[in-house]
Amino acid sequence: MTRRSQASVKRTAPAAGAAALLEQTWRDPPGLVGWLSAINHKSIGRRFIVSAFGFFVAGGLLAATMRLQLARPDNHLVGPDLYNQIFTLHGTTMMFLFAVPVMQAMAVYLVPLMIGARSTAFPRMTAYAFWMYLFGGLMIFAAFLLGMGPDAGWFSYVPLAGPDYGPGKRNDFWAQLITFTEVSGLLISIDIITTVLRLRAPGMTFARIPLFVWAMLVTAFMIIFAMPAVMLGSTMLIMDRLVSTHFFNYAEGGDVLLWQHLFWFFGHPEVYFIFIPGLGFMSAIIATFARRPVFGYPAMVMSIMATSFLAFGLWVHHMFATNVPELGKAFFTAMSMMIAVPTATQIFCWIATLATGRVNFRTPLLFVLGFFFILVIGGLTGLMLGSVPIDLQVHDTYFVVAHLHYVLIGGAVFPLFGAWYYWFPKITGRMMDERLGKWNFWLFFAGFNVAFYPMHHLGLAGMPRRVYTYPADMGWGPLNLLSTVGAVTIAVSVLLFIVNAVRSRRHGAIATDNPWGASSLEWAAASPPAAYNFLAPPVVGGREPLWEASKDVGAPTYVTGLALDVREALATTPLDARPDHRYIFPQPSIWPFVSAVATTIMFIASIFSPWAIVWGSLLVAVPVTAWFWPKRAETEKHLALEKRP
């Protein structure tokens, strides 16, 4: 802490109206233009979460339609063409427009608060990423409503999704949606990594980073190394379709399996960058409601890292039915088994935490307990799928559908709902209704198992995935009907959640700053937090800043000396978070929004003509330059604050 000792400690009277000034400096500008120019991480985070939830509901409605179609054999509610579009869009929406973005959205809102910062590292980029995500999602749903929805599955296997067997522009929209969401996801990842590494409160060393922040940091790194694969793959796909390249044309030296390798090299890690943030929510919620820090912090961190590394060695277990060399398959089976160890470790640590803690049964904890039951089942069926011989039987059957929903809904959606109940008071300043919350949980939990448990049996009884209907004499009818009943129950429980959220937002009990008696820094900010998060950014002296006294004897407890009328914050060193320099954040700007619009036009146009890339990039260059170009007035202010390194 050398630099800190150098820093002189002033003691003078409180500056009058400091809070008002800061609020004025950090808040979003007024008016519609102001709304579009907003870059405050909380505004963007809120919009991000709400949009992602919107897509979750849309994807859910698609799922409900499928369940109604499958409720009885030889059903003709929707025909094969529409059904294929529906299940493709359901998978695409849930994976690309809900599961991954919603986790990043939570991070955009929470991470700066949890590490005692005032903003994400690149707020304008955060805004741009959000708009790109939103426009991409709107594009794909527009295409669907126009009868041009993608219809080759969320995995878009070639040649089915290729130019020869996927006529029209349907799958081009899919491929371009990937580009949208990847741009968004990758930018947010850079943002989160830089935020976590450089903007942590002084004293928050690596060993003191909250587990949720760890999870998001690791996830961000995974995204950076996994997403490029599918981005490249979807680009090849669109080039094959638009300009006749031959990447996937076996007759001209291409290869059909190349797509599967590229897709699953991303696709399998993707499961984990949906799952790992869920683990982060788990740790945050369990610690608070067991009234003690999570047992085995180092083990937890190590497990998250181990998972993220092993996740890159699993992709071929989606391809066991192709003729991949046997030896390779054995390796991937081994990896699939191995990745269970870190997850098991975390589960045991949480159980230990609950066993040695004092338990406060509230809705967030209920959802966490739901995780244990559902995810453990999903994990075990995962082991079965990891084994080559068993996979050969259940691969591409409803057994897999059951498994993946047990893992993703159990491992991510249940913790996520818990997280929404947990952080709702922080975001809105009001508590959610506990009684509705419990109904919401029990209906969701029951409905989920009724909907998805029977699918295990359907799969073993030979029902393949992605069939729009099935003959009556296969005997799959009753279980499918049961499953549909479960699906409806889930829909009701989600409706309850919406009702609860909307009502509580207006009439919920006023929340204190720290309604759950939690330990992490976001609970030191107001509920809802002021635009500037912390009037005096905190200095951290331990892993549980709100629970334990500072471990750094005689260390200061808060930061002063930051400008009030300029968006200025403290940048710290990556490892041990020592104060490094004062970082000046950009002002709100309309240009990220305009740039996103321009990029959207370019991307959609390039579905129809390769030349759109050329004139489109010129179209994008203009707003991006304007975005970067500094304002004279701001520069003046900065010069006044300037101090050379």
């Binding site: 295409a143 126009l146 040649p159 029209g168 522009k169 006749s244 007759a251 146009a605 129809f608 003509s609």
Partner: protein, 191 residues
């Protein structure tokens, strides 16, 4: 990029339902049922001589399902062009025993109905009659595809490259020829 492409962008991005965009991707999976008069059927088997129809199929006006801008119909047409071995004479549109189909020259006319007529009733010097051998709906699909070979279909609907040896550029990337009728005259023989 094409005007149609632009309309599609506007449609998609503005969520406005433009019929142009919808129809192009529509898949009419259930063809219209037809009644209508029962034509007389020749009783002796017919070979593939020009101008002589095969027996059996009942034709109806309601079966005119031509849509030269529908991606699915065009793609089906391309499949049938391969299945019925049209390439045997016309190659991949480049022409062989039969005239090329990629260029702007149409001996017997480029209008859909003229092409339909050519396929159904055949033409002198080699083009067999497919009446009675290919159902009307499929002939109309072939008509749409044949026109797309010289770029008459929107690039947003015309087929892309096939999964096979690519002899000629994909229909979606062909330059739109300005069709002109050159016949009636014997088809150009290329050695």
């Amino acid at each position: 990029m094409s005007a149609r492409g632009l309309t599609c962008i506007v449609a998609a991005s503005m969520l406005a339902l433009l019929p142009a965009a919808c129809d192009r991707e529509l898949r009419k999976l259930s063809k219209p049922q037809s009644g209508g008069p029962v034509p007389a059927i020749g009783d002796k088997p017919v070979g593939m001589q020009p101008g002589q129809p095969g027996p059996g199929l009942q034709e109806t006006s309601s079966a005119r399902t031509y849509d030269g801008q529908n991606a699915y119909e065009l793609n089906q047409g391309k499949r049938l062009f391969r299945w019925y071995n049209c390439g045997g004479c016309h190659a991949q549109g480049g022409g062989g025993m039969g005239p090329p189909l990629m260029d702007d020259k149409w001996i017997y006319g480029h209008e859909p109905d003229q092409i339909y007529d050519t396929i159904m009733n055949g033409r002198p010097n080699g083009m067999p009659a497919f009446r009675g051998r290919i159902p009307q709906e499929e002939v109309w699909q072939l008509v749409g595809y044949v026109r797309s070979m010289s770029g008459q279909a929107s690039p947003a609907a015309a087929p892309g490259r096939s999964d096979g040896i690519s002899a000629s550029p994909a229909e979606a990337r062909r330059t739109r020829e300005n069709p002109r009728t050159t016949g009636p005259e014997p088809p150009v023989k290329t050695p």
